[in-house]
């Protein structure tokens, strides 16, 4: 039987001495090569090296990649082509059942659970390192089973590709685990097939493919591919290979169309039927390709050895000549060099910067966020980041002085309605301002677009508490209670609600309740200015609304209106605050006096800043001097009055100059 002829190709079989391939010289050559390396005295060095690599990976992940940045980067936070973020995970039967009803769901469920721990920097790095180690170990096992010489070294290739993915913030825990499990199942099959008859192997392969598909989804094609190649080229058991191939092809279609295990059309099209679309990222795809290539080469070598023994003999002797301590040392050096090169060379520093800014905003480290912003490329500013920056400026009391340190837009303060779903901090800003219904709108859209993320659930709970609907808030908190990281907070909050139902909510809720207007109006008919003025009509002491209103007038280049509402700002200043007004406001007040005499506002004496007036006069002279040469004018203004309102007013630009 063909299957019997190649029994014992693997190292395990060699140990038992029952290795009996059809051409012993041919196959023994590479085996002898492996054995030579094994005997070389690296038995201790190898684990030490691998341990060092794992430790190095952990250090690199925790120091450079920082998985906690990814934890906070769901949805719109990350700019750039890569989809960064971790999946939603909730404890509880209903959430779990949704995963376990579809192929690949169990693995996605486990990966989603593990990914939550990226919240803790040490745990995230440990999990990612463990994934790499698991991938390495299972690859090494498979390569050992198929008898590839130097398998332990080749097995580093997928792990290094994984490192490349980590450096691009494609964590893909689900893909890593799925590949590792499939490699394990593939190895198990190859071992069992070697020691069993075809009668057992024939049903075993489809059964394992089904199991792999149900557990890991389309990644099972890897396991199927390995086993089919092995049966086809090495064991030459065409019937089993055909059975395996048919199972691998038919299974997704059966699950999608007949059993309806896959829930939606999208999933059916992309994940269940087209496995290559399951890993749309090139880095993840490269791991599949690398693994399949290694197995294919090994299987082809065996097939060639059987077909033309002389060719393989020639190749083996050439390889034998090369083998030696020098070769070994060079390989080790190459591995180390590749590891270091990939670790240092492929790290997407720009994306890390973006993620770090987002992380600082989500963890409310406002001063650090503004510090980190220094030198950030102007073309990478997104609506989300601008919203966070404005919030940081407000929280640090620098809205009136540093607003134009970054490239601003008139809509930078917040985004209302459905657009807010893609501006991460917008819902919270609206809530803090007191626009509770707008915050609710944004949060509900975000929930639909991004799923049950902890910050969205938390905001929705607060929104409904502020609106006096604790029953609805409780539903969101109950969901949040099932979050692995924020569950305790939700349970504590629910307890607070149960203990004190009359005065429900924390200080943020109380503040929002005090600020929220009871006057109804159609949101679609109101501008941002109307909204802020409405809030101030209800509560003139709403400091955030005052500062945001003045910032709105700055951003929309309306100094006259700013002057009109300047008293609101003045009345909120406490005695302890410096007498001098923030420079941007003083500048805008000075600009408000430019124009027809009758439209000039009456400015209070203490608001008149002679320096600002001088600056305005100079800026106007420059504008006249340069005429339509906007680029030159902007360059001059950026140099003479950097980050000023004058420059923004005249040229519409802000931030660092060209």
């Amino acid at each position: 039987m063909p299957g019997e002829q190649v029994r014992g190709v693997g190292p395990a079989a060699r140990g038992r001495g029952d290795c009996a391939p059809q051409s012993p010289q041919t196959l023994r050559a590479p085996l002898a090569f492996t054995a030579k390396i094994a005997r070389f005295g690296f038995s201790l060095a190898r684990p030490m090296l691998l341990l060092s690599l794992a430790a190095g990976l952990y250090w690199h992940l925790s120091a450079s990649v920082r998985p906690e940045l990814v934890y906070h980067a769901d949805g719109p936070a990350a700019s750039g082509p890569a989809a960064v973020g971790i999946p939603v995970f909730l404890r509880g039967g209903d959430f779990r059942a949704a995963f376990f009803r579809r192929p690949g769901g169990p693995m996605e469920y486990c990966a989603a659970a593990l990914a939550q721990f990226c919240y803790y920097p040490w745990a995230g790095s440990a999990i990612l390192t463990a994934c790499a180690v698991l991938l390495y170990a299972n690859t090494a096992l498979l390569l050992r089973v198929v008898g590839l010489s130097g398998g332990w070294l080749w097995a580093l290739v997928p792990a290094l590709l994984l490192l490349w993915n980590y450096n691009r913030y494609v964590l893909g825990i689900d893909v890593s685990l799925a590949i590792a499990l499939n490699l394990l199942l593939g190895s198990a099959y190859l071992i069992l097939a070697k020691t069993s008859s075809s009668a057992i192997a024939a049903p075993l392969l489809p059964a394992l493919i089904v199991l792999a598909y149900l557990l890991t989804g389309p990644s099972a094609m890897l396991m199927a591919g390995v086993c089919v190649l092995w049966e086809l080229l090495v064991r030459r058991n065409y019937l089993i290979a055909a059975t395996g191939l048919a199972t691998a092809i038919a299974l997704p279609a059966i699950c999608a169309w007949w059993l309806q295990l896959v829930p939606t059309w999208d999933y059916r099209q992309q994940k269940a039927i087209c496995p290559w679309l399951a890993a749309p990222d090139a880095g993840q795809l490269a791991i599949y390709v690398a693994l399949m290539t290694m197995v294919l080469l090994r299987c082809s070598a065996v097939a060639v050895a059987r077909w033309r023994p002389s060719v393989m003999q020639h190749v083996s002797s050439a390889v034998d000549r090369l083998v030696g301590w020098l070769c070994k040392a060079v390989a080790l050096c190459a591995v180390l060099a590749a590891s270091v090169a990939i670790a240092l060379g492929t790290l997407d520093r720009q994306l890390r910067w973006t993620l770090q800014l987002n992380y600082l905003a989500r963890t409310e480290q406002w001063t650090e966020l503004l510090d980190c912003l220094e030198g950030y490329p102007a073309d990478l500013y997104t609506a989300s980041l601008l919203c966070d920056v404005c919030r940081a400026l407000y929280e640090t009391g620098r809205l009136g002085s540093d607003l134009f340190r970054c490239p601003q837009q008139p809509t930078a303060l917040f985004q209302r309605s459905q657009e807010g779903a893609f501006v991460r901090g917008s819902g919270e800003v609206l809530f803090l301002l007191g626009c509770v219904n707008e915050a609710e709108h944004v949060a509900h859209e975000s929930l639909e677009v991004h799923g049950e993320r902890p910050d969205i659930l938390r905001l929705l709970a607060r929104v409904h508490l502020a609106k006096g609907n604790p029953a609805a808030a409780r539903v969101f908190l109950n969901v949040l209670r099932n979050d692995l990281i924020h569950g305790d907070w939700a349970a504590w909050y629910l307890q607070q609600l149960a203990d004190n139902p009359a005065d429900a909510g924390d200080s943020l809720v109380q503040a929002a309740r005090a600020n929220m207007s009871q006057a109804d109006r159609l949101a679609e008919q109101a501008t941002d200015e109307d909204v802020l003025l409405g809030l101030l009509e209800h509560n003139p002491a709403n400091r955030m609304a005052v500062e945001y209103l003045l910032a709105y007038y700055l951003l929309t280049r309306q100094p006259a209106k700013l002057a009109q509402h300047f008293e609101r700002f003045k009345s909120l200043r406490s005695a302890e605050e410096p007498h001098r007004f923030p420079p941007l406001l003083a500048e805008a007040l000075a600009w408000s006096t430019v124009g027809p005499l009758r439209s000039r506002p009456q400015l209070p004496m203490d608001a008149v800043d002679p320096q600002a007036f001088r600056q305005v006069t100079e800026a106007m002279q420059l504008a006249r001097q340069y005429g339509n040469n906007h680029e030159a004018l902007d360059a001059e203004l950026a140099q003479r009055f950097p980050y000023s309102f004058s420059r923004y007013l005249i040229t519409g630009r802000s931030g660092a100059g060209q």
């Binding site: 209903d94 999208d266 626009c435 709108h441 639909e448 109804d520 008919q525």
Partner: protein, 672 residues
């Protein structure tokens, strides 16, 4: 035996032992000694005093009392009591035994004994709670839509079918980015699954899926009648004709209170013949002066019920400017006779006027016995889910007496459906938290009184505590829909699209020409042109001019309105606005006059980039006067006077001066 077999058999043996241990474990029993607590335990959901269908799935619940062990015993006058125990307070009756016990106790009251072991190890027995098992069953299946409480984006929603006697739920259509964003308004013919429609919107376009005897086809319901898509629908009992509404909706938001609001700019009804693919829109149900929606055929098919409100605004058909009167739009309950042989309807008969009930009526649903009709009553508009004061009412069709259902709550109680025996109503309610809609079932007794409603039972008794999906649009079915999910989603993606056609003249043309003109050459030409292209705005404008000149103001208003809706940026649109505003501001008939609308239209007519014509200003002044804003009227008339003088329009100047005298005397203008 080889080692391999040992390894294989060992776990199997362990599994068998574990299974035997579970099967042979001692059954839970109520404690012999306990302390009686003189109150009912806090349980969720609360089924106390409910009337339940004898074929409903087990009413599982959670006990919210501190304790380490919970035992519940369900007892009736017949059958062996059911006992269940748990450590976490969840009371989960087994399905088969539950049904046995319920069948044995039809028409009687059952009670649940609750025992809780406290931290000290002592048992407490709370007061029993009771529920009554009705004699009449509820239809076994319900199809509903489940979505998140989103406002604009819908990434995934689905229509699901639930077996009410078990917990089995099967998806009919789950939409996603590929198949569609939205699946809505599923309707069945006579509660049978063989004929069904389901509307969808999304990437594959919008349309209607028509299930007919196991086959699914896609229908594009857009016609010249209305460029929108079909919405609410109702099957004639014979399954041949589908009455459906064509609504032009807009979603907008409030800054305080309930956040969302949905508004109908325009709506009409049509009768879709599923054999011919033709939509018939007789004037009685598609009047351009009215907004008709929510069609519902009576069980005998002889009447078509719907609601309608006067359309009090005119605007661009593509624009979505919210008219200021939106809060004043209230719908009347109306019915027309329906002749299924001729597919014709009779004149509308108002059953309940909005003014009479002090609110807006929506979702009329006649009972299967034809004696009563259920409807929603709320403050305004035709979209009750976002109005917390929406309640369900019944109307006695013989006496016209109406009354609220006893099971209403302070929160929204809306979309409802009768069971085929007329003893149950399933409806959507936000009573739990004011935000997330859940399905409730209420029993309607012989006197048409409703009883305390029970929430749709779920397998996991804690389901509603963390369920963020809302259930709506429940439709009861006597048998399950046998068509698989893939057929529906495949129908959207690959199904052949059938184009619906409008049968007969456009309703606006019908309104303008109740009889085809025979002797009048001008009108004949206009009629022919409008028959050929019912979206030719300029022809409507010319028709309006013609009717205006002939003193047929009713028709002129309809024609101008249609012209304005279709006008876009056409130069004659401003003229149409001005002329329509003039009629609405100065017509002697109270029925036709509408000062607020006239003012809006006149203001729009005056929004020209250059000089405003004196005639337009004169009309604006008349609109101000009609709205009793005489100071503005005088100011505008004087401006018109100057413009007329500057343009040398002496006749107009004279007329304006005459009008000015009216305004100075604080009298609105009336023109024949």
């Amino acid at each position: 035996m080889s080692k391999r077999w040992t390894y294989l058999l060992a776990p199997v043996g362990l599994l068998l032992v574990a299974a035997t241990a579970v099967l042979l474990r001692p059954g839970a029993d109520v404690p012999g000694q306990f302390v009686a607590i003189a109150r009912r335990a806090a349980v969720e959901p609360d089924y106390h005093e409910c009337v339940i269908p004898p074929n409903i799935a087990p009413l599982r619940f959670v006990v919210h009392e501190p304790g380490s062990r919970y035992i519940a015993r369900l007892c009736g006058s017949a059958g062996k009591p059911l006992v269940t125990a748990s450590a976490d307070g969840a009371v989960c009756w087994p399905v088969a035994q539950w049904h046995d016990l319920l069948q044995a106790n039809r028409g009687t009251t059952m009670h649940v004994e609750l025992y809780v072991r406290d931290q000290g190890g002592d048992w407490q027995r709370f007061d029993d709670f009771r529920f009554h098992v009705a004699q009449e069953e509820i239809d076994r299946y319900v199809v509903y839509r489940r979505i998140r409480p989103a406002h604009n984006y819908f990434t995934q929603m689905g229509a699901y079918q639930r077996d009410l006697s078990t917990f089995t739920e099967t998806p009919l259509l789950v939409t996603d980015a590929h198949t569609g964003r939205c699946a809505n308004c599923h309707t069945f013919a006579a509660r049978q699954p063989e004929r069904m429609v389901l509307h969808y919107r999304g990437q594959q376009g919008n349309g209607m899926l028509l299930l007919r005897d196991g086959k699914i086809s896609r229908v594009d319901t857009r016609t010249a009648l209305f460029p929108g898509w079909g919405g609410y629908s109702s099957w004639h009992p014979d399954g041949q004709v589908l009455a459906m509404s064509f609504n032009r909706l807009a979603l907008f938001h409030h800054e305080a209170g309930e956040s969302r609001e949905v508004f109908d700019y325009d709506s009409d009804l049509g009768l879709y013949d599923i054999d011919t693919g033709q939509i018939k829109a007789p004037l009685e149900i598609a009047d351009p002066n009215w907004l008709e929606t929510f069609p519902s055929f009576s069980a005998d098919g002889k009447h078509l019920y719907f609601v309608r409100a006067a359309k009090r605004w005119t605007g661009d058909i593509r624009g979505k400017v919210i008219p200021p009167v939106w809060k004043e739009v209230q719908y009347d309950l109306v019915r027309v006779c329906y002749d299924s042989q001729k597919n014709e309807v009779g004149p509308p008969e108002t059953l309940l006027a909005a003014a009479q009930v002090g609110g807006s009526i929506s979702h009329p649903r006649p009972s299967p016995d034809g004696r009563v009709l259920s409807f929603c009553l709320h403050r305004w508009g035709s979209f009750p889910p976002f109005q917390p004061d929406c309640d369900l009412y019944l109307l006695d069709l013989a006496t016209r007496r109406y009354w609220p259902l006893e099971c209403n709550s302070p929160q929204t109680d809306s979309y409802h459906c009768w069971s085929s025996n007329g003893r149950w109503i399933i409806f959507a309610s936000k009573r739990d938290n004011g935000l997330i809609t859940r399905l409730y079932i209420t029993y309607i007794d012989q006197q048409y009184r409703s009883h305390k409603a029970l929430v749709l039972p779920q397998e996991d008794p804690r389901y509603y505590q963390y369920c963020l999906r809302l259930f709506n649009a429940p439709e009861l079915l006597v048998r399950p829909v046998a068509v698989p999910q893939r057929a529906f989603s495949g129908g959207i993606v690959h199904g052949h699209k059938q184009q619906a056609k409008l049968a007969g003249p456009h309703p606006v043309v019908q309104a303008l020409f109740p009889q085809p003109p025979t002797n009048d050459c001008t009108l004949q030409t206009l009629y022919q042109q409008l028959l050929a292209d019912p979206e030719a705005g300029e022809v409507f404008y010319r028709a309006g001019q013609e009717f205006h000149q002939r003193g047929q103001h009713q028709q002129a208003v309809i024609a101008y309105r249609r012209a304005i809706e279709l006008g876009g940026d056409q130069p004659w649109r401003l003229e149409a606005l001005e002329r329509l505003a003039r009629i609405l501001a100065t017509h002697p008939s109270d029925q036709l006059r509408d000062g607020r609308q006239a003012l809006l239209l006149a203001q729009m007519a005056c929004q020209t980039p250059g000089r405003v014509p004196a005639s337009h200003l004169s009309t604006l002044a008349a609109a101000y006067a009609e709205c009793r804003q005489f100071a503005n009227a005088v100011k505008t008339a004087r401006r018109a006077e100057r413009e007329a003088l500057a343009a040398g329009q002496m006749d107009l100047l004279r007329r304006i001066r005459q009008q000015l005298e009216h305004y100075l005397a604080e009298q609105p203008l009336r023109e024949p």
